[in-house]
Symmetry: C2
Subunit: 250 residues, 2 copies
DNA sequence: CGCACCAAACTTGCATACAAGACTGGTATG
DNA sequence: CATACCAGTCTTGTATGCAAGTTTGGTGCG
């Protein structure tokens, strides 16, 4: 039987793989049917995720994947900078086993880049940072980083990151190389730069318009083909409603 | 009516005030009677705390306040070092309002030192670090630090910290002064030193003896007064059983 | 006396039932 | 036609009941 941690884990993984968009509704009943268990277990999983800042609940309305504000986005990146560069700065020489594990991870990233599974790609790129924290010997910070990574993944989705995966992977390679040759100062600098670039790739227009996202999503297609005007947009399968993503949890 | 977050908050506060010792059993039924609610709410609160690493559950045996291992203790202090020094390092000049708030906090610490409420004292000394993170503008890291602070408080209780409160408060004053005059480098150094001293005050004997704590707690009193040998120790009110602390949650 | 075994009490794990608020769509009214 | 209102439906919030595992204390046997 599934446990509440299983359910929470599946949801986190779906977020890291960008299969669950920010704002997606997570109904207790839907999930309990999906996982074939009672609402109690689902609720427990959602409470866990809420505690970790991944979902929020609106009283008697529903559970939703968080949509971090601009401020929260800034804080999340700042927090990752503090932790990840700090962790590298204070680390001594990295032992062989850790370097080996990191290189294996890089291999997986590169394989994923060759393939066409965007989810796997996103997941591995995020997981690199968790893996790094573990290799540097701090499970507590690694766990914290996992949550922060999920957050930044959501932020990237919400603010339509234009950062490309190949660049990220190259950054990761450079960081591991610096660590492997014991140049922690360079590794720290590279990490700082890497996080900065990921953050810079966000479209954080200083807009006060709460409808900005909706407006952009529903904007008419630019070449304005001969599509009928009325209800076509609502049924266009290339713009699935958020709920549709739920299916991919299976 | 109490909410699950209320219950969780009360438990956290009790830990920060050192009124709940590591290893204390937290029975669902006891708590539900204490807070006059159903086990559902208590369970939800405990699940939240478990997610934050404050309590653990042993299947069908009970919920317990965590007892961090030596390794976990090391990781917790390392994590705090990374976050707190990193946060100071990257902060710009601290604005007036923040300095004012920090100084108010220091005042409260000093007042508590004059009084004799050890719980209040412990609480404020720990809360300083959370307050600092908030003042430096990162609520996300502040929340994370709150959990880490609770952890280190438990570690201090478990490993019988000999650190004295007056010294801690003086350290805090020095850090705020350095921040107020814009000397972040010095503030960072002081913070590093402060955390180091708190950690150094632990009795982390490299023992493999899992009974060490019990052995020490149950050691005969050194002057060996004329106390009767038999059952007196079990009823000595100066050594209350962990469950007794529950009452102080009220 | 020592040891194994067993039953009773206690604890959490999970499902379900019901309560109560929030939203939606329709309808009546101005 | 526009608007206010209201009932029905859907959602979460909370309590409770039962199942199942763990511990403890006692009891009988060797």
């Amino acid at each position: 039987m599934v446990s509440s941690t299983d359910i929470a884990q599946r949801i986190i993984e779906a977020i890291l793989a960008q299969r669950l968009a920010p704002g997606t509704r997570l109904g207790e009943q839907s999930l309990s049917m999906l996982f074939d268990c009672s609402r109690t277990l689902v609720r427990e999983a959602l409470v866990r995720l809420a505690t970790r800042g991944i979902v929020t609940v609106s009283s008697r309305r529903g559970w939703y994947v968080v949509q971090p504000s601009h401020d929260e986005a800034r804080e999340a990146f700042e927090a990752r900078r503090v932790i990840e560069t700090g962790l590298i700065r204070r680390t001594g020489p990295v032992d062989k086993a850790a370097v080996k594990r990191l290189k294996q991870h890089l291999k997986r990233e590169q394989d994923a880049l060759k393939g066409d599974d965007v989810g796997q790609r996103s997941y591995l790129l995020g997981d690199f940072h968790v893996c790094l924290a573990e290799c540097l010997g701090n499970q507590l910070l690694a766990d914290t980083l996992r949550d922060y990574t999920a957050r930044t993944t959501l932020i990237a989705m919400l603010y339509q990151s234009t950062h490309d995966a190949v660049q990220s992977c190259q950054d990761h390679v450079a960081i591991v190389e610096a660590l492997a040759r014991g140049d922690t100062a360079e590794a720290e600098r590279l990490m700082e730069e890497h996080i900065g670039q990921v953050q810079a790739a966000l479209r954080l227009a200083p807009t006060n318009d709460p409808l900005a996202n909706l407006r952009e999503a529903l904007a008419p297609l630019s070449p304005a083909p001969r599509a009928p005007k009325g209800r076509a947009a609502a049924k266009d399968p290339s713009h699935p409603a958020p709920e549709t993503y739920l299916g991919s949890l299976l």
